[in-house]
Symmetry: D2
Subunit: 297 residues, 4 copies
């Protein structure tokens, strides 16, 4: 049997990733705030522990897959924390989408305990996680990156290394999310132009879908006006856009598309659409062209 790993965070992404690690023969010590979500992993042989601290074994490896910067900071800065318990020779593999600045601070924080921080945010939705088809961006010190490579190889179909800056992998993750958000906004505007010219949105979506798979899924969502249940909540989309703008400001980089999307998403929030899929920003684009849309829930 391979090494035993710690794992914190068994949400929509964390659970399938942890499952794949178990299947690959790793031992797992898992923690989730809501214990019931850990049960199925227990059935597969994972040890379910009662505090984040307990996932760690000295000198070992622990992975986290949590909702946002705050959640990651909370478990890392706890007194005592799993980081402290990992101690000298330990490695923290951080899979969450967080700000590069937070990643850099965590990396520095971990050093005082002799723990290495490997930034490892992933591209892919829950289905890709279940199929071990994620794309993993990594950055951090060379040796720990090498050490965790066999682990990341079991959860994704590709690993992309962005060097030693702990923040770099998260910059790239934000870059990717920025491209997707831009695609959603562009499709939203385009669909309104089609509609106002009397053209079937579904026909346009079908045509566009021929050229670009990334555009296809959002074009279909917008054409059908099916924004519930949310694949990715609009409010989380705004959080990501804000992370992008914050990272851009810190590196003194004007990003006008991001600024514009900030306002589009904010208007959608103001209209009460925070729990719809983020492609529901298309409703605002339509309203701005005088089209009556369904009321917000």
């Amino acid at each position: 049997m391979s090494e035993t790993l710690g794992f914190i965070g068994l949400g929509n992404m964390g659970r399938p990733i942890a499952t794949n690690l178990l299947k690959a023969g790793f031992g797992l010590r898992v923690y989730n705030r809501t214990p019931s979500k850990a049960a199925s992993l227990g059935d597969m042989g994972a040890v379910i522990v009662e505090t984040p601290l307990d996932v760690a074994v000295p000198g070992g490896i622990a992975l986290t897959m949590l909702a946002d910067d705050h959640a990651v900071e909370e478990v890392c800065y706890a007194k005592p924390s799993f980081v402290e318990k990992l101690g000298k020779g330990g490695v923290h593999v951080s899979l969450s989408t967080i700000s590069p600045a937070t990643a850099r601070r965590l990396s520095k924080h971990h050093q005082q305990y002799g723990v290495e921080y490997v930034a490892s945010p992933v591209f892919g939705r829950p289905e890709a996680a279940a199929a071990a088809k994620l794309f993993v961006c990594v950055s951090g010190a060379i040796l720990p990156k090498k050490r965790v490579q066999p682990i990341l190889g079991k959860i994704g179909q590709g690993i992309f290394d962005f060097g030693e800056d702990a923040g770099a992998a998260n910059v790239v993750k934000l870059c990717g999310n920025f491209l997707v958000a831009s695609t959603v906004e562009a499709l939203a505007e385009m669909m309104v132009l089609a509609e106002k010219n009397g053209i079937s949105k579904k026909a346009v979506a079908e045509t566009i879908g021929q050229f670009s798979p990334m555009h296809k899924s959002y074009a279909d969502l917008i054409a059908e006006g099916q924004f519930q249940p949310a694949g990715f909540r609009l409010a989380l989309g705004l959080k990501d856009i804000n992370l992008i703008l914050q990272t851009a400001a810190e590196s003194v980089t004007p990003m006008p598309f991001a600024s514009l999307m900030h306002d589009r998403w904010l208007a959608s929030m103001a209209k009460g659409r925070e729990n719809l899929d983020w492609s529901a920003i298309a409703l605002d684009a339509a309203e701005q062209a005088g089209i009556k849309t369904m009321a917000a829930p």
Copy 2:
């Protein structure tokens, strides 16, 4: 042998399209302002004529593949014109990317001569034209669309019908170009964010390329900073963005991404980059973040 068709405009797109029609067994009467470009088609059996008027045979079909609205209007409104000569039962297949408003005006104009206008703008670059892999958007009256289907089937891999409004197919073509332009702008901003965070642009391009073929080619161009020779001239890109904004204004549709791109492209023109590939707008994005770029040619 199939019917003989008229063909006006043998540029980068027109020539491979006309060649495919010859290969498919159609007779062709071709006209190009610069006669030398017609020579190779003559060798393959096309009749080279000396005026646009002469491509037409009464009641027949003529195709045009010209640079812009003005060029199409010039040949259609000439006195006498090939449209007049086509006369009752004739069909004009207009492959060019022009404004929906112009298409609608031409359609109406043609009716007085008993000629049907079939809007047929195409998606695809010269290589796709040569491989008969274009995607063709059509709109116009039902019977002539049916009549020209076997012709369009020889130049493309898919035909998408957007109904009877002569302007509709051109709206969809502009929609597609808008998506591509938005992709270029999003990649430009993203690459600057990466660069200002010390990350290799080529590494980011490689990662992005895994998810989205439409993003891949432009990401590579921007990462390499290789903007000459131009695949699509920046000045032509601005022309398309202006057609989009004009069509949006006519249908009272705000398109903030398009407005923003108008300004980015305009700044690039002001900096003397009209003949570079349109992905060279990335230079402006970089300069706005304080990065020194190569001087404009």
Copy 3:
């Protein structure tokens, strides 16, 4: 008695201007499409004529105050036109807000008849016109500018000379309108911020009014939500913004505030507010922040 002048266009601005010229002792030959509007001037001694052509006397001066580029072109390019009748030594004083490009074309056109074109757009609303308190921007050839100076001196409180380019005075007029439109948009956004923070809009308007008279009137309008009757119709505001963007594009000048206002005004048009005062764009700003506004008329 002074010289007799021709005058075309007796709308909200033209009538008070013509009245002031009569009072100052000039003879007037006036034309208006709707003849009833000329009656009061007839009572004061003006000669009411039946065609635009008839306002002109050979070698004399004629003024126009018309709604837009099209209206000015129509009377100038008529066959025959008042310009032709003015003939050698004549001067056309064009008071309308039109595009610099149109002004330049008219200036060139007039030369073939020996007529000089003096661009003379004015700043000020109807009350300022009635009080002879307009500010007049002029450009064109030196001698005719000198010749018409006593006339312009009777309708305004200041004359600003922008040189010999016939388009220059209109550029400056558009510059001024751009500043006012920007003030309206800024106030609209600001008022929403105040409202969403629970602050009285009227109290903010009163405070702002202390510092800046230009801001005061629009701040009051927006705070009171009183958008009818329109001081300046929203649809005309969009026309001006479009003239600004067109002039900016021709001179390769990105103007991001203007682009953004284009979209704001367009959204307001799409929502059916074309006949409200242009400060009614504040309704859209409020709606985008989730505030319910009065329905459009």
Copy 4:
């Protein structure tokens, strides 16, 4: 002699304000990080103290005029702080431009010590402060506002009350700064349009100056290209724009002009202009239109 007041912060604004309070007969206990700046006030009778804590007398009033949120928080959250020493019945008059959110937090914090927080940000530049011509926006509890009114009456020409929310006065202050920033951006774009059309920027500034005093001073600065010494540093302008955007985001208010200015100011920072006057953003507007400008310092 009137009551003795505490005063922290003797910068460009704080010194003239404190001077006016002394002249009006108030006793003053003053603190400044750089003691030399307090000397002249000592000559006029102020007691110069060595720590922020020492400005306070139990149950008394203390004013602060500090650079930013951080500086105000530092003196308020010190252990022990002047707030603690003011204690029950004390009042803190906060004159600085800070975020409404910080003001609200401070107000709550002060309550535990029985101290009232009166937000009192001021409009006006150092000359206005010296002339006691500031406009003061106040918000907070009714009784302490009444108590400090005689004090504020000695430093300004007008007091505007925005109710009991401690954040309100700061929202209004940010509203005002937003209007000024918008005026600067609008003038910058307008001047480029004039320049690209061959029109003298000084002539345009002179014309504009007739209508609007608020526009006049910035129009002159931009026309002359005189950005040093800075009346208001560009970097501080970005700080204010960021406070506006942050306040807008917290109240779910899209402010597209503010977003756009964020990017303009950020580009100017990236080009090394942080220490120029904020009207130097006009250089970026010019560069985007292809005009060569002076190099950044």
